[in-house]
Amino acid sequence: MSASSSPAAEATATRSVAELKQIAAQVRRDIVRMVHAVNSGHPGGSLGCTDLLVALYFKVMKHQPEPFDMNGIGQDLFFLSNGHISPVFYSVLARSGYFPVSELATFRKLNSRLQGHPATHEHLPGVRVASGSLGQGLSVATGAAQAKKLNGDDRTVFVLMGDGELQEGQVWEAAMYAPHHKVDNLIAVVDRNGQQIDGPTEKIGGLGDLRAKFESFNWEVLEANGNDLEQLLPALEDAQARLGKGRPVMILMDTQMGFGVDYMMGSHKWHGVAPNDEQLEKALQQLIVEKAADY
């Protein structure tokens, strides 16, 4: 696939919300099909974060899929810390031109570049660090943001974490560090779906008042509905407007696990379970795309 034929190479600034919604529906079709094909993977969080990743890769971020440059100088960078939602990451990378969409069929299979959790080891374009063992992405993104400052590169670093992931101690080491060092070219997003493998986050390991926590760490904090592009896009604009003022920006993004597929929505039971044949059919019937282009 050449860069010129990839959607991301088009003028992203003019892309309408209606177009983004079509892309998001296609990505959600990819997610359920990928997970179904290997009867493993994590559909719940992937579906919940689809709107964010589509907004970033198809509208907000300045990035160059081809040729992929690990250093990404002059580009906005995205890091996925909650690596288990690799299906949405892979689909969005493929559909924005980082690698052929047909390669999505290799997800989680032997000799694939699309490992169960994202890895650089197989040189998949678009992935800049391995993730999966939770809690590490905010540190990596902060380091990358500091490298941008050293390089005089004024672009932004984005990082997505799960809310259950905030139970990892390293997140709070990084949360303390980034404002102390005035890393104000960093936008972190917490996928606040309230669910983790064993149940609701507040039942497993209460996160409490995240706004108050991050504000007390000296972050700029805003909240957004992560499953409504009409609200999410202005929130991302708001976040960008708050950069460059001495503080990193945190978006507490409310989503529903499994968004877009009614029987998966809002339940931790679909965190890491694949749909069967019948369930897949039902899901695809709900994910309507005008010009479906399944891999």
Binding site: M70, N71, G72, I73, L77, A119, T120, H121, R128, V129, A130, S131, G132, S133, G135, Q136, G137, L138, S139, V140, A141, T142, G143, A144, A145, Q146, A147, K148, L150, N151, D153, G169, Q170, E173, A174, M176, Y177, H180, H181
Partner: protein, 318 residues
């Protein structure tokens, strides 16, 4: 037995500090991070002269490893500095996923390794770090022997693309290697050619091996002494060539027997050239408080221990 004259004793960590400062002057991509141990790691000069390229992380080693991985994205060459214990065991998963598996060009620089850390005791005296690091695929593991070699190694690893674990220590030891040496990663250094036994030593045990060589010479034993400053990748050719000549081997290191240099050489010999081997290393034990010399004696890591191992292995030689 060759003489190795020296005029001063210095700590290897100061060699690291001097090498890092030199890199600050010569390589604009080199950046340094420290977890609240600037003085202990001898990073003061770098911090003073290159403040914009230094990151004080505080007591947050896991975050430091992640930050270092991130800094490579943008072309920086991060050198992390803390004690060996907090550079490895405390942050193993961060190194494994964000640095080693991700193939990041991070230099993990670890001071106060082994029992020679002394009085602070076993919580801080890691003896498992070489094993932990050498088990990670593609991790380069280096343990230089004196100030000059540590300085040269620090400078050399900046030009090596990929993750490196550089281990050094706290006590002052004789500075006997050349100040102008070129450090070649993965290349063993022949110190004394001999015919009766091959002694492969690393880190602080290299000087002990030299002292042992003199004691052995008095007994009429002609020991070949080789400095294995790079544990991984191991200089297979140098080890096999020497072992095939002398037909018996002693290894010496300030580390557990499990997972250290001796373990690597035993594996190599078992596969290529089965020969009797004795290990001078810590045998499945934690350390304790004491002076470095007291501890090296108690844990069998001095020249007398090497001499005893040589006599034992020569008696086993066929």
């Amino acid at each position: 037995m060759k003489d190795f004259p020296y005029t001063e004793k210095k700590d290897t960590r100061s060699g690291f500090g001097a090498g890092l400062h030199e890199l600050g002057k010569t390589n604009p991509n080199v950046v340094a991070l420290c977890a609240d141990l600037i003085g202990s790691l001898k990073m003061d000069a770098f911090v003073k002269d290159f403040p914009e390229r230094f990151f004080q992380v505080g007591i947050a080693e896991a975050n430091m490893m992640g930050l270092a991985a991130g800094l490579t994205i943008g072309g920086k060459i991060p050198f992390t500095g803390t004690f060996a214990n907090f550079s490895t065991g405390r942050v193993y998963d961060q190194i494994r996923q964000s640095i080693a598996y991700s193939g990041k060009n991070v230099k993990i620089c670890a001071s106060h390794a082994g029992v020679t850390l002394g009085e602070d005791g076993a919580t801080h005296q890691i003896l498992e770090d070489l094993g932990l690091m050498k088990m990670l695929p593609h991790m380069c593991v280096i343990n230089p022997c004196d100030y000059n070699q540590t300085k040269a190694a620090t400078i050399a690893i900046a030009d090596y693309e990929g993750p490196v674990y550089l281990r050094f220590g706290r006590p002052v030891v004789p500075v006997f290697t050349p100040a102008d040496q070129k450090f070649e990663i993965g290349k063993a250094v022949m110190l004394n050619e001999g015919t009766d036994v091959s002694i492969f030593a690393t880190g602080h045990l290299v000087w002990k091996a030299i002292l042992a060589g003199h004691l052995l010479a008095e007994k009429g034993i002609n020991a070949e002494i080789i400095n294995i400053h790079t544990i991984k990748p191991l200089d297979v050719e140098a080890v096999l060539t020497s072992a095939r000549k002398t037909r018996c081997v002693v290894t010496a290191e300030e580390h557990q027997m499990n997972g250290g240099l001796g373990d690597s050489i035993a594996q190599l010999l078992a596969r290529e050239e089965p020969l009797p081997l004795e290990m001078v290393a810590v045998n499945d034990s934690f350390g304790e408080s004491g002076t470095p010399d007291e501890l090296m004696e108690k844990y069998g890591l001095n020249e007398q221990a090497i001499v005893a191992a040589v006599e034992k292995v020569m008696a086993r030689r066929k």
